[in-house]
Symmetry: C2
Subunit: 204 residues, 2 copies
């Protein structure tokens, strides 16, 4: 049924199990069973449960970080780049639907951040600060400290990822349709653009 190599099958199974049950709740026995691999396979191919976890996280955080940075530093006005960053998060969250739960776990939990997440945060952070600065310089973002502004932007994709399942239940099957998703993303972008705009002055 699945002809991938053992490490690949392990990664796929681990991604799902970690997302469903969290790091502690996931067991190597369940992961190897779903991957149709032997109990020893995780130790052999990845070294330990923890290292497998890091490998799973990196699968996601590396392309996510890169995409976000690309959009944040594109050759466009800052107002468009902010929309691009929001899109980037939504896109990546949709491409790897298992991952947001993992990242959210780690952010909410008190413990030390796993290296893949920590590294990505540290790479993305300066790009976002610069983006806000550019936006304030060009007049599309209102003045004020950058931290709450960045929080307001990121809140949209992250909160969406957090309540995906719940909202899906409230909305029904329509929720899965691409048009609905596109509507949500467009709403988020508009909402942020208006929310961050300087005092009500016509913007052409």
């Amino acid at each position: 049924m699945n002809n991938d190599s053992t490490p690949k099958r392990l990664l796929t199974a681990a991604r799902r199990v970690f997302a469903e049950r969290g790091y502690e709740g996931a067991s190597i026995r369940l992961i190897t069973a779903r991957a149709k691999a032997n109990l020893g396979a995780v130790t052999y191919h990845f070294g330990s449960k923890e290292l497998l976890y890091y490998a799973v996280l990196s699968e996601f955080t590396v392309p996510l970080g890169q995409t976000v940075i690309d959009r944040a530093t594109a050759a466009e006005p800052a107002s468009k780049r902010i929309g691009g960053v929001i899109e980037a998060y939504y896109e990546q969250f949709a491409r790897f639907p298992d991952f947001p739960a993992l990242v959210i776990h780690e952010l909410a939990l008190g413990r030390k951040l796993p290296p893949p997440i920590k590294d990505t945060l540290e790479r993305v952070q300066p790009a976002l600060f610069k983006l806000i600065q550019d936006g304030q310089a060009e007049g599309s973002v209102r003045a004020g400290p950058p931290v709450p502004i960045i929080m307001s932007i990121l809140s949209q994709p992250f909160y969406f990822a957090m309540v995906r399942r719940l909202v899906g239940q409230v909305v029904g099957p329509e929720f899965e349709k691409p048009e609905f998703r596109a509507m949500l993303i467009q709403h988020a972008i508009d909402f942020v653009r208006r929310g961050l705009a300087p005092e009500a002055r016509e913007v052409a």
Copy 2:
């Protein structure tokens, strides 16, 4: 050091341990040790680990739900009530700093919602829908489907709770000061009001 009754001490310890390590990661042995109670105390007073967990969640979700509903249905214009709801979340999250992590866990995780969270969501949901309707009727909220609008509102307190620790590290000790918190809340309320306002028309 702590003269409370055993069940109370168990609740306090459990709240912390669950928040730090999630449900699976928390052990009855650690909880009872921190509560200076015997290993059997959880079974005796609460019946099981799961029921203790529900008791811990209810401590938070019941007052949170009530406060939010009060603010959402207050005798004020909808635009003010929306700000009140946002404030309510921030307030409650600050009053019980251990809890947001627990709720976020459960929302992000795939598994079935624990009854205390599920019940609160079902109580709060209709009040929020009505609030958006009122806002659209009075002209302070732009037209459109209510789901993305509600998501944009709730995203502010929830994302803040999610990244609290991280942002605290970036911002430094100033983060703990009440003025800074007040500034964040005010930013969130302004951001949402502007983001949801109808087309750019002077609002007095």
